[in-house]
């Protein structure tokens, strides 16, 4: 049976070549787009690690301050004053690398005898409450860390797995940025946004008053009205005597960062959907026509005792064979990407394989759907009628 179908396909190789090409390119496009979509959705499925709902950041500009001592005192006063409002539940100062801002600071070294690659984030002891970080090991910073001999560090689970798994954290001093003691591990900190790759992160401690921490993170009580922002704005302006600060709504920034991925993704998917629909309709038309050309053949087979089912299966088999061959060729090309590790940092082999599978299944499903009706029709032909036409 299968040999027979091969023979049939080969006999009509010229018209099948076009079909073959069409399925091949449809698979290629689907594969590329789905790889990218899979990657995005995989990243989207991991938690951000911090809360953005009801979180604001006041970006202060501390570049131009003259006197360090007064500014430090001003920073503490600002925090106290804002915390005294019932709407504000937590307040914490952070470094200029803030979530979704696009700025980073990273470092790598092998001074400990193994490789450490990490992004640096500077915070004070209140940040865990302001951002609702989830600790999986150890503890967060507290006031005792202010004068510790080795700079305390909290690392993310990813850095732990990459570099510290199985090592002694408690009593060892590691070189990350200076000499550091690792006091805790948080589960996630995906500060580039929902669709970004998670990087290994280390939190470094600074005291709240430090000029290195210009961003004031605020956690608001649920249900705080939008108008409250003006109050905060006035207090900040009064206490700091500055005008050039801005208040960022973290949830908005998060949505904006996600939007820049959603938009091209939806555009690409709809274009892809259209292409696939187009191919499906084309396939349907061609099949319909081909079958109507081969009426005599069907009639002959039926008189020789083939059942309706067998006739339908023959047509479906032919098309499926051509499609499978085209997809096979596509897979041969596609498989090179994960094997060669193309764009390894951004796209995992997993994404490529999922996209390959999904693309193949989608195309086969589509082809089946398109062949079903015309081949059913072919099965229903009356031998007497078609042979008479001839």
């Amino acid at each position: 049976m299968i040999r027979h179908i091969f023979q049939l396909v080969w006999n009509k190789k010229r018209s099948n070549a076009l079909l073959f090409l069409e399925v091949f390119f449809a698979f290629a496009i689907l594969f590329l787009v789905l790889t990218w979509v899979t990657r995005n959705l995989r990243l989207y499925s991991t938690p951000l690690g911090f809360e953005t709902e009801n979180a604001w950041i006041v970006h202060l500009n501390l570049y131009e301050v003259g006197d360090t001592a007064t500014t430090e005192e001003m920073k503490l006063r600002l925090r106290e004053e804002l915390l005294s409002l019932p709407q504000i539940e937590a307040a914490s100062y952070g470094g200029s690398v803030s979530p979704f801002s696009g700025s980073t600071w990273s470092t790598n070294n092998d001074n400990n005898g193994f490789m450490i690659m990490t992004h640096l984030v500077f915070t004070d002891e209140h940040y865990k409450d302001a951002a609702n970080l989830e600790l999986v090991q150890g503890r967060w910073f507290d006031e005792t860390d202010r004068d510790s001999r080795y700079k305390p560090v909290v690392i993310s689970q990813q850095l732990y797995e990459e570099s510290f798994e199985g090592r002694n954290l408690k009593d060892s001093v590691y070189t990350i940025q200076g000499e550091n003691k690792i006091i805790g591990v948080v589960d996630h900190y995906k500060y580039f946004g929902d669709f970004a790759t998670e990087y290994s992160v280390s939190f470094f401690y600074e005291k709240p008053a430090s000029l290195e921490l210009p961003n004031l993170h605020l956690r608001l009580a649920t249900g705080t009205s939008v108008a409250f922002e003006e109050t905060v704005n006035r207090i900040v302006a009064d206490v700091t005597g500055m005008n050039d600060f801005t208040i960022e709504h973290l949830q908005k920034s998060r949505e904006q960062a996600a939007r820049s991925v959603w938009i091209p993704m939806i555009s690409m998917l709809s274009i892809c959907g259209f292409l696939v629909l187009n191919v499906a309709l084309g396939l349907f038309g061609v099949l319909w026509y081909n079958i109507s050309k081969r009426r005599a053949e069907v009639g002959l087979r039926r008189t020789l005792g083939a059942s309706r089912m067998e006739v339908s299966l023959q047509f479906i088999g032919e098309i499926i064979l051509v499609s499978l061959l085209a997809i096979l060729l596509g897979v041969v090309f596609a498989v090179q990407l994960p094997i060669l590790g193309v764009l390894q940092e951004e796209i995992e082999a997993f994404d490529y394989y999922v996209a390959m599978g999904a693309g193949a299944v989608l195309i086969i499903g589509l082809v089946l759907l398109c062949t079903f009706y015309p081949s059913q029709q072919a099965g229903r032909l009356q031998p007497a009628v078609v042979l008479h036409e001839e």
């Binding site: 496009i29 131009e64 939008v226 801005t246 292409l275 187009n278 309709l281 061609v286």
Partner: protein, 446 residues
Amino acid sequence: MFSSYLKLALKVLGRHRFFTFISLFGISFTLMILMVTTAFLETELGSHPPLTEKDRIVLLPRLIMKNMVADTIWSVDTMMLDGQPAYDSTFTMGKKHQNSYSSSSISYSFLDRYMRDLPGAEAHSFFCSDTRFDIFVNGKKLNFKALYSDASYWNIFDFQFLAGRPFQAAEVERQVPVAVLSRKASVDYFGTTDQVIGRSIEVDGKQLEIIGIVEQPSNSKDYVASEVYLPVTFMSEKDLSETGFYGPFKAAFLAQNKEARSTIQAAIEQKAQQISLPNPEEYNQLQLMSATVTSLYAFYLVPVQDDPEGALRMFMMVATGLMLLFILLPTLNLINLNISRAMERSAEIGVRKAFGADSGSILSQLLFENVVLTFLGGVLGWLLALALIYLINDSQFLGDTKLQFNTTVFLYSLLICLVFGILSGLLPAYRMSKLQIVNAIKHNNL
């Protein structure tokens, strides 16, 4: 001849409605997507205000400092020479590699010192485009971007003024409190763009008089997109006098003509070689990343580190590849369909040939029919594209970027239609024209 071809073509289309529908669906959607894409590219990269002179503009957005060190390899060979061990040591310098790197926008004093008289540049402007302010109006917060610039900024970027005028060099110098607003900012702040000139706005604790309103630029280019434009002298003293290389500024240069752009870019590169770095132990190599409008756009899309030209090449490659793939699929589909349709007409073609028509005229007739079909699809696609563009603009899907459907785009689309029609009709028509008369007539029940 022409009219009979046309009549025939329309008749054929009417005969098999289902096939015609499939073909038209494919053609019109493909062309719609191509038209919307070209409209998008035209809006983003075309020559219109404020970038009418985009082909003469060179931008300098970034300064990079690197420390390049060479590995030194010390190897000792030992051998026996006259019964004595002899040593032969070699010292080789390895390839240079980078061990520290930093990049940022540029300080005013650096630009002021080195970038004033570049050969080939007709005008230059230094501006700072990344300051933001929260402004409260009637309890509503507005987050305004402020762009600080000198007066020549307005000569390089020809903003479309809805009302008023730009600020002048004298006003910048004397710190006259004036500002130019964008249309959106004016609507957000005053609720209107009428009679806003002469009113004042408070930015950074200063009352500024509004002297001009400009049409909203697309927000994908940060060197023109802003809500409020201020004289550069309103920046803090520290930002202007900062003597380091890094600062918040960028520069734009207007070349005499398109070709002079490379002169400017070469001159900038040459300057980078000559300028001595403040602390050579930390960084020993300076790089000034200049770019054209198009390459900078590509650079933001495909970040190839510090190389806008490379980014543009990569972008063009990926975009062309995708575009080709995208056109290829519907074309293949159409070819497939067309072959089926044409086969059906083999009897007709056989008869025409029997009465003396040559292959060429058969070919041209079939091609013509296909082009008619494609143009029909083109018209449909054009209507669909208009609808889609309206929807995209209406839903703010792309933020402030408003797609425009203009004549250039329409001409491109016509060209695309023609190419598409010929491409998808050629193979089937060729096959049919080569048909043997006997076979063509025999297999059909006329």
